[in-house]
Subunit: 233 residues, 2 copies
DNA sequence: ATAATAGTGTCTCTTAGACAATATTTC
DNA sequence: GAAATATTGTCTAAGAGACACTATTAT
């Protein structure tokens, strides 16, 4: 940014945000996809996204798109920037730089297809990864998924997939689904309980129907887990 | 990106790359700064950067700027994207979205001030962090520094600060300087040697002058360190 | 020999993971 | 009581850090 700076000395770019909105179904991690109703890539599934507005920060744009496409309250979900994609031909129409964000929601909201979209649907990430997505969205998904899985190890992210009040089994299920693995319940409980500020006992407990009722917890102020949990394998 | 897409339906942005070029001096981690010769922020130190060109990928832009400002061979340094900064008023002149990259160099190259810069200098990161930098560059530095320090724990990044052939003491010094700490040499050697594909013995050794000669190593194919090294404290 | 630096060995303490045992509920 | 789920306890093995010890050089 050292050179002189007139409007016409640098090429104009469009800047978009593309969103990886993750949520948890009974047995899978799901991501929100929209079906494109217009060229290019008409009929293909894509990540929800939108142009950043003139006086809007990147994160505000991501929050706005999140609300528009899911109806979710952007302040109730965790949102973070993942990576920026800007290959010259990633959009055939014009030069678009896309800032990818990922969001973790514990509700499913009301997915809304946009004006030029024909559908919006929560999709098992395994299915989504197998599909031929529009643009470079398969790559974005790949990067975001790995980032999410890695961050579960050393951050308290997992709680964002849970209700405000949750049991250790529910929290453990987040890890098991995201990592496609099984974790030893006793060891899991011991480890997360040892992390200062991660979990706060509510004093309540819930009956699951068949067994001993589980204590419930709320998320504490901690954002990192130390020592980190380890992904098996 | 679902809406219709005419050039005039979305605001034009300028896209830049800003670079955190890190290198190691005898006792400090250093970052390359340039001194601005024009408004805004005239006279302030800033990160080297430049506009992304019309047919250039973000990473190519970063490589080009790196070469221009340091003379270094972009293929001989490690370069990775850090984060994108796009607050509406971060540049008072026009809407600029900047993609920050960080680079790790083992040579210092020949820093070159650009046409509108009055100086370019390697700067101890402690000094740089204390200065009032141009734009939001202090924040970019903060984010990049923490990212770099964190990645040293679980990646093989550190070797990029070393010559192609290096000793364990030299590698250890990277960590000690970057983390501002002291590491136990015997334990360090044992841990890094245990990581498969991290270090390859060359069979050579170098006399340091005063003591027993040290074996030298080359970087192996591994990119992650498991188990990770742990930052003391 | 002494100092300096490199590298190995050993010990202790913590933690991870396996799994046994106990607690509290429904059927 | 039997089955299901939650939670606590115990054991073993691996890893981390402290530090003693050995190796190889210069002076």
């Amino acid at each position: 940014m050292g050179e002189g700076l007139q409007i016409d000395e640098h090429p104009p770019f469009a800047v978009t945000v593309d969103l990886l909105v993750f949520t948890l179904s009974a047995s899978a991690l799901e991501v929100l996809l929209v079906k494109r109703g217009a060229a290019p890539h008409q009929g293909r599934w894509a990540l929800p996204g939108g142009f950043v507005r003139e006086r809007e920060s990147l994160e505000d744009a991501a929050r706005r798109v999140l609300h528009t496409k899911t109806g979710l309250d952007p302040d109730a979900v965790h949102l973070e920037q993942v990576q920026t994609f800007g290959a010259p031909k990633r959009d055939p129409r014009l030069r678009v730089v896309s800032v990818a964000y990922m969001a973790f929601a514990h509700e499913r909201g009301e997915p809304q297809a946009g004006p030029s979209e024909t559908a919006a649907a929560w999709t098992d990430v395994a299915d989504a990864s197998g599909r031929k997505l529009a643009f470079d969205h398969a790559r974005i998904l790949e990067v975001g998924l790995e980032r999410a899985r890695a961050k579960l190890e050393y951050s308290t992210l997992a709680v964002h997939f849970c209700e405000p009040e949750f049991t250790l089994a529910e929290l453990r299920r987040v890890y098991e689904v995201a990592w496609d693995t099984e974790l030893d319940a006793p060891n899991f409980a011991r480890k997360v309980s040892a992390v200062d500020g991660f979990l706060i006992e509510t004093g309540n407990s819930v009956k699951q129907g068949r067994g001993r009722p589980a204590k419930t917890y709320r998320a504490g102020p901690a954002t990192i887990i130390f020592p980190p949990l380890q992904r098996p394998e």
